[in-house]
Structures are given as C-alpha cells and as structure tokens.
Subunit: 154 residues, 2 copies
DNA sequence: TTAAGTGCAAATATTTTGCAATGAG
DNA sequence: CTCATTGCAAAATATTTGCACTTAA
C-alpha cells in the first residue's frame, strides 16, 4: 500500500481536513524518524524546515492523525506522550523495554511472529466480545536497563 | 505468599524505609481497590481515612512502591499515571482495552494463559539479550469503545 | 535522639484553549 | 469567498521540589 503525499492528501480530504504545509512536514518528519517521538521532538525537527511552526499545531495535528488511525500515541510514563506512524510492514512492528529509572526505551521484535499470531486472535475475540474497535496495540516491559541495574541502590 | 501488614513492614525496612501511617493506608487502599488508580483517586480514598494526607505524600509513596516492585505504574494516555499493586495471583493478572475517545478502560483476561506462556518466554529472552531487569509488563489495545464507536464522527 | 518522612506552597512541565489573523480549496 | 487552520499568549493539569515541622525507630 503506497503512502505517499498523494495518498495522505486524499485521506485528509476524506476525513474533511485540509492538507497544509505544516501537516505535510509533520508527516514527513514522522515517516523519516520512526521511533516514539514526543511532541517537542517533532516540533524541533519541523522547526528546522519550517520555523514558523507552533507547538499547538503539532499537538492538533497529532490528534487528527491519531483519529485518522495513522499515528499511535503512547505514554511510557515519563510524563509526555510519544507518537509513531502506524506501519503496515510486519518488519517494522516492534514493542518496547522501558527503564523505570532513566526512561531509556529499547525496541525489540524478537518473537514478533508468535506475538502477532496471538494478538491477531486476541484482537478478534476482544473486539467482538466488548464491541470495541481496535486501532493498535502496545506491549511494554518495564524494569531497569543495563546501566541503571548496576547503578541504582534505591 | 502472605502480604499482610507485617510482610510490608519488613519489606520497607529491608529497603531502608520506615513504615508510617500514610504509607500503610495507601497500601490498604491499593489492595482494596484493585484497578488502575490515579494519584488523585488514591488521595481521595486515603483522605476519607486520614484527612491530614497530602498529595505529595501519595506521589512519593507511589515512587517508593514502584522502586520496591510492589506497584506497577502505567499511563493510558489521558495525561495521568495509573498505579496498581502487582499481583502474584494468576487469576488477577489482566490487560487493558483503552478507548482513545473517552478514556474508558476495560480489563480483560481472556487467553491469559497463552499470553502468560509467551510472555514468560519473552521476558527470559529479552532480559538476557538486553541485560534488562524486567519488573512487570503491560499490554494495551487502543481504539474506540462501544459507545464512542457509534457516536464519534471525527 | 536523629535521620527519614510529611504537608504546604511554589515551581515545573506538558497539553489545551481563546482569539484574531491567515490560507486552502 | 468561506471556513478550517494557524500561532501566540494565557489557562488548565499533573507532578516535583524547597523547606520547616513531625515522627518512627
């Protein structure tokens, strides 16, 4: 499935939104930098290309993209939301290890096939049972990373 | 494994903390009200028993309990952290469906056995591969609940 | 006795909102 | 043209910190 500028443009129109320069650039940043960006991370990247940008626009665009099911929004517990483009490609699907001490996030995709199989089943069962439309899922393992494990005394 | 006041008291001491009345009551609230409470939820409950309580103490105690691996901290994307006691009992283990529109959270434990089996394996592999100490994991399915699915036009 | 714990008030940090100006279609 | 979108400044929220007082051990 192609997801170029043309596809996005049409998709925006279908949802009753206009395609604008800030929105195009935000999408570009999201597609170039794959991993769990915060609103400010995105702001900084967009600013390099389009210094007129405001943080408000970042937040509002991310809301729209989440509604359009193009972006997943997740919070790893460091007090800010993180966003990623939702990918079709199996190879890009991944989950997270999150360090409770320093906030470091490690992506992994070991056993992703087995996970996918189970999750496909789960999504089907759960969405029927609870009459729930599932857009995406997240899996996170929380603990202490390499460094913090040896450092932390608390 | 018993987890009464005595067990907790000892555990606190082992970590170099003192057991205090606010902490006891917070633990009591957490054990009576199992599910994903926010700091303020907890504050309100504790206040009923101990009106001298301050929100700060709630936050500080929850930090300690997270460090002590007695509580899991999770953020469902509504801008506040949620906390639950980590349970040994398999029957209490559960995961979540989260509505992106209204924030409703549904607990489920269908296929928990299959999940558990896979996750035990994953935890072992991941913790070795990344030299990471895993305290707990969270699984969340994000989408639209029954009500919001039919209401939302956005 | 004394270091750890507490509550308050103030400080941070993130996200949201009101509003006048701008721009896409 | 017209209405959605934008950026700014201000507001709303959640969480953290400084500090003097209190308390468990």
């Amino acid at each position: 499935m192609g997801r170029g500028p043309r596809w996005c443009h049409a998709r925006f129109r279908n949802f009753g939104y206009k395609m604008t320069q800030p929105r195009e650039i935000i999408l570009d940043v999201l597609s170039r930098t794959k991993k769990h960006l915060s609103a400010e991370d995105i702001y900084i990247e967009v600013y390099k290309i389009y210094p007129g940008i405001g943080l408000t626009t970042i937040y509002r665009t991310l809301d729209i993209l989440t509604n359009m099911e193009m972006v997943s929004r997740y919070d790893f517990g460091d007090g800010r939301s993180r966003y990623e483009l939702i990918s079709d490609k199996k190879s890009e699907h991944h989950h997270h290890l999150i360090c409770l001490n320093c906030g470091k996030i490690i992506d992994y995709n070991d056993y992703i096939d087995e996970e996918t199989k189970l999750f496909d089943k789960l999504e089907k069962v759960l969405s029927e049972k609870h009459n729930f439309k599932i857009n995406y899922h997240h899996v996170g393992f929380y603990g202490l990373c390499d460094k913090c494990k040896s450092t932390t005394s608390s």
